[in-house]
């Protein structure tokens, strides 16, 4: 019966593979080639400069800044999103009152699920525009207006949100405000993902834990978390690349796209500036290649760390 299997697979895969090679892999190759040139983006001449762009990259102060900002998101986005999503998923699935028999979520959990998932339906640019109204820096901003009415802040000192470069815990405030949006937008999806995974955990395990007198916290830490390990690590990888991107929020929301005064500069904004504003296309391609290598290393590390025996149930 194995006869014809190869042909079967080939038949299905040939067209997608050709498309993929032409539209994805070939442009990658081209970009790698451009990264060794000083091409400005328009002309037919692409002078070869060897590794110059890569040498320059390591000396570029702004690239270094952008790198550390990305690292901040790389740590903060997954940690906070996963923690919040896990917490919500736990409440929605097994966090309900324990005074009756059986395991259930808090009352109205199906409604909460829809509400929490909702931001996922909006495009990122739309999210950014919505939050602009919230973050507006004068008395017409939703947050500022409310805080002024409640006399929490003075009318003369509104919060500046994404225009605020003041460091908080060593990281410019603008990055924290952007982080908040990312968490708001991302948590719902991962909550649903974790919920689905939790529902596939057999109830009897919980009931057994309950009979043994495990508290809710204990059952979460000792039962839920270990059994969700695979799902959480997948989420971690996904959130990792969201954190490496972050372009839309920075581009739409921050002053002069990466400001104020470079306070929200990230890799993507540097690539954009170099490629499309300053005519250093080759250098921008080198930045993109460097980011790709960084992402690959990260993925390899990630997959290595999470490799472990699976629990099947």
């Amino acid at each position: 019966m194995r006869h014809g299997r190869a042909r079967f697979i080939t038949g299905f895969l040939a067209l997608p593979v050709v498309l993929y090679l032409y539209y994805v892999v070939a442009p990658f190759g081209q970009s790698v080639y451009f990264s060794f040139t000083s091409w400005r983006g328009f002309s037919d001449e692409k002078p070869f400069v060897g590794l110059d762009n890569y040498v320059r990259l390591f000396r570029d102060e702004l690239v270094r800044k952008a790198f550390w900002h990305n690292v901040f998101f790389l740590v903060a986005v997954p940690v906070s999103t996963i923690a919040l999503a896990l917490f919500l998923a736990f409440l929605l699935n097994v966090g309900g009152q324990g005074n009756r028999a059986g395991i259930r979520g808090v009352r109205g959990s199906s409604v909460y699920k829809v509400i929490f998932f909702f931001p996922q339906l909006l495009s990122l640019v739309l999210v950014a525009i919505l939050w602009q109204a919230l973050y507006r820096g004068d008395d017409q901003g939703l947050i500022n207006g409310l805080l002024m009415k409640l006399h929490v802040i003075s009318r003369d000192e509104p919060l500046k949100f994404v225009s605020d470069p003041t460091p908080f815990l060593g990281v410019p405030a603008v990055l924290w405000w952007l982080l908040l949006i990312a968490i708001w937008g991302g948590t719902g999806f991962y909550m649903v993902l974790f919920s689905a995974a939790m529902q596939s955990i057999p109830r009897d395990i919980y009931e057994a834990a309950l009979l043994d007198g495990a508290s809710r916290v204990a059952s979460f830490v000792r039962v839920t978390l270990p059994l969700l390990r695979d799902t959480v690590s997948v989420a971690w990888v996904y959130l990792g690349f969201i954190a490496l991107d972050f372009y839309a929020l920075v581009f739409v929301m921050t002053p002069s796209q990466g400001g104020p005064n470079h306070a929200s500069e990230i890799f993507a904004s540097q690539i954009n500036f170099n490629a499309f504003n300053s005519g250093r296309y080759g250098y921008a391609c080198a930045l993109a290649v460097a980011l790709t290598i960084f992402a690959l290393l990260l993925a390899a590390l990630q997959l290595r760390v999470i490799r472990r025996d699976r629990i099947e149930f």
Binding site: R5, S31, G137, K160, D230, P255, F276, L296
Partner: protein, 491 residues
């Protein structure tokens, strides 16, 4: 939990996919595996790769034949050819080129003009420069293609022949002679005319005449007068000055006008030419001291440093501030929300002090660039469409539709229903000496970025005037010392 094993035969690939959700330790396609791999592939493909792919190019294309050149068809647009025109649909809208198309069609009934409008000029058109770019592009807006890059790469057609061609309405007058002052200079780079800027824009400080009449305020002509008037404005419950802090280049128009007025033409020429110490001269110091005082004394609208252009403009229209620096497209951009009683007028940027070297100099010029790519299939058609746009009828229609002057003489003669346009006309009549002009942001993208960042910090009160000067001097010196950047000069 598990289903019974499907059959005694070995599972086909399809079976494996169908049962991917069932635990099957022998299968290499369990759900989690699949997810894990998809995640790894996604990590590979999504952030970096999409950026990587953005850098890819292509190969080159073909040309349309040109027809016979006659005075009525000076570039020899071929019959049955087509002209692809890309219109930027921004503050000026995309209605006026539709009228120009009707003019064009009357003269060249056998040529097809395809108008398409967008706001993503660069995103959609830069990739086409590798193959066949459109024949005429309205290179404008936030997503415009950097002109210095286009020109350095030889990607544009020299529009010199257009200037010397007979005008649309009068075969005895050259197109060049129908243009307003500054238009040819504005589009000339390294001695060649590459960009036709179609809109004539006057920059200045806007105010509501009705509000000023009610309070018997007069528009200041120097910073000193402004500082005297400002407390009265504050007492009346208005912020004296609003601005678009999120996009610092809006304030740059004011700052550069002030520097020009204080130091005269030479001060700006030195800045543009990256002359050592150009940012440290007295004219710049005096300007920055006045601006720093304005910010420090809280004469700006609270939170203005965080507002976008439309937010600050709406705040001004809502009566939150007395003055707002912006150009003459303002009325058209905000048309839907201008209060009925509002009498918007533009005044020149007030001077810095009584000892200004070029008091009364006006910052005006042509903007809204139109370019013809060198590799365009029908460059003749693109230029001919430009010639149609510069006809009397085309220019008058532009002024009528947009409340903005065209860079063609007399375009605003018949517009009477706009206090804004009339005040701009009046301002141009009283303009003294040369028009204010500055080139360094167009010439050097890095200097532009540094300057915008510094202006943002200055206007937010996080940077002092002297620190601003030091920052800009350092940025200019860095450009001057970088041999990889092609330098330009002006006089």
């Amino acid at each position: 939990m598990s289903e019974s094993p499907t059959a005694s035969r070995a599972p086909s690939a399809l079976d494996r996919l169908r049962h991917a959700e069932t635990p099957d330790t022998s299968s290499d396609l369990t759900r989690r595996n699949l997810l894990g791999r998809a995640a790894a592939a996604g990590l590979l493909a999504t952030p970096a790769a999409s950026l990587l792919a953005a850098c890819a190019g292509g190969s080159s294309g073909t040309k349309t034949e040109t027809g016979t050149k006659t005075p009525d068809n000076p570039f020899g647009v071929a019959d049955n050819s087509k002209v692809d025109v890309i219109v930027f649909n921004g503050g000026l809208g995309d209605e006026y080129p539709k009228f120009d198309k009707t003019l064009f069609d009357q003269k060249h009934s056998k040529v097809t003009v395809n108008l398409s409008s967008t706001q993503k000029i660069k995103t959609e058109n830069q990739p086409k420069f590798q193959n066949v770019p459109p024949d005429l592009i309205n290179n404008s807006g936030a997503d415009l293609m950097a002109l210095d890059t286009l020109i350095n790469d030889g990607a544009l057609t020299d529009l010199g022949p257009l200037l010397d061609a007979p005008s649309w309405d009068d075969a005895n007058a050259k197109v060049r002679d129908t243009l307003l002052p500054g238009t040819v200079d504005d589009g000339t780079y390294s001695g060649k005319f590459y960009v036709l800027n179609y809109a004539y824009t006057v920059f200045g400080i806007w105010y509501d005449q009705a509000l000023f009449d009610r309070n018997s305020w007069t528009v200041p002509t120097t910073f000193d007068e402004f500082f005297t008037l400002a407390p009265r404005i504050k007492t009346a419950g208005y912020a004296p000055f609003a601005f678009a802090g999120k996009y610092p280049y809006y304030m740059r128009w004011a700052l550069m006008s002030w520097v020009w007025q204080a130091g005269g033409r030479q001060a700006m020429v030195d800045i543009d030419n990256l002359k050592p110490g150009a940012w440290k001269v007295d004219a710049v110091t005096a300007t920055m001291a006045a601006v720093e005082k304005m910010v420090k004394d809280k004469l700006t609208l609270t939170g203005s440093d965080t507002l976008s252009h439309t937010e600050s403009q709406q705040a001004w229209l809502d009566g939150k501030a007395a003055f707002l620096p912006v150009g003459t497209w303002l009325e058209n951009e905000m048309r839907k929300t201008i209060p009925a009683a509002f009498k918007m007028k533009i005044a020149n940027f007030w001077g810095v002090s009584k000892s200004d070297k070029a008091a009364g100099a006006v910052y005006a010029g042509s903007g809204e660039g139109w370019i013809v790519p060198k590799k365009a299939a029908n460059a003749a058609g693109g230029m001919e469409f430009l010639r149609a746009m510069m006809s009397k009828a085309g220019a008058a229609k532009f002024a009528e539709l947009t409340s903005s002057l065209a860079s063609v003489k007399g375009s605003g003669d018949n517009v009477t229903n706009s206090t804004a346009l009339k005040s701009a006309n009046d301002l141009m009549k009283t303009a003294k000496g040369d028009l204010v002009s500055f080139k360094h942001p167009d010439w050097y993208a890095d200097l532009d970025k540094a300057e915008q960042n510094a202006i943002g910090e200055l206007m937010a009160g996080r940077m002092t005037g002297p620190a601003f000067q030091d920052t800009m001097q350092a940025a200019a010196d860095k450009i001057a010392a970088d041999s990889s950047i092609k330098k330009q000069t002006r006089t």
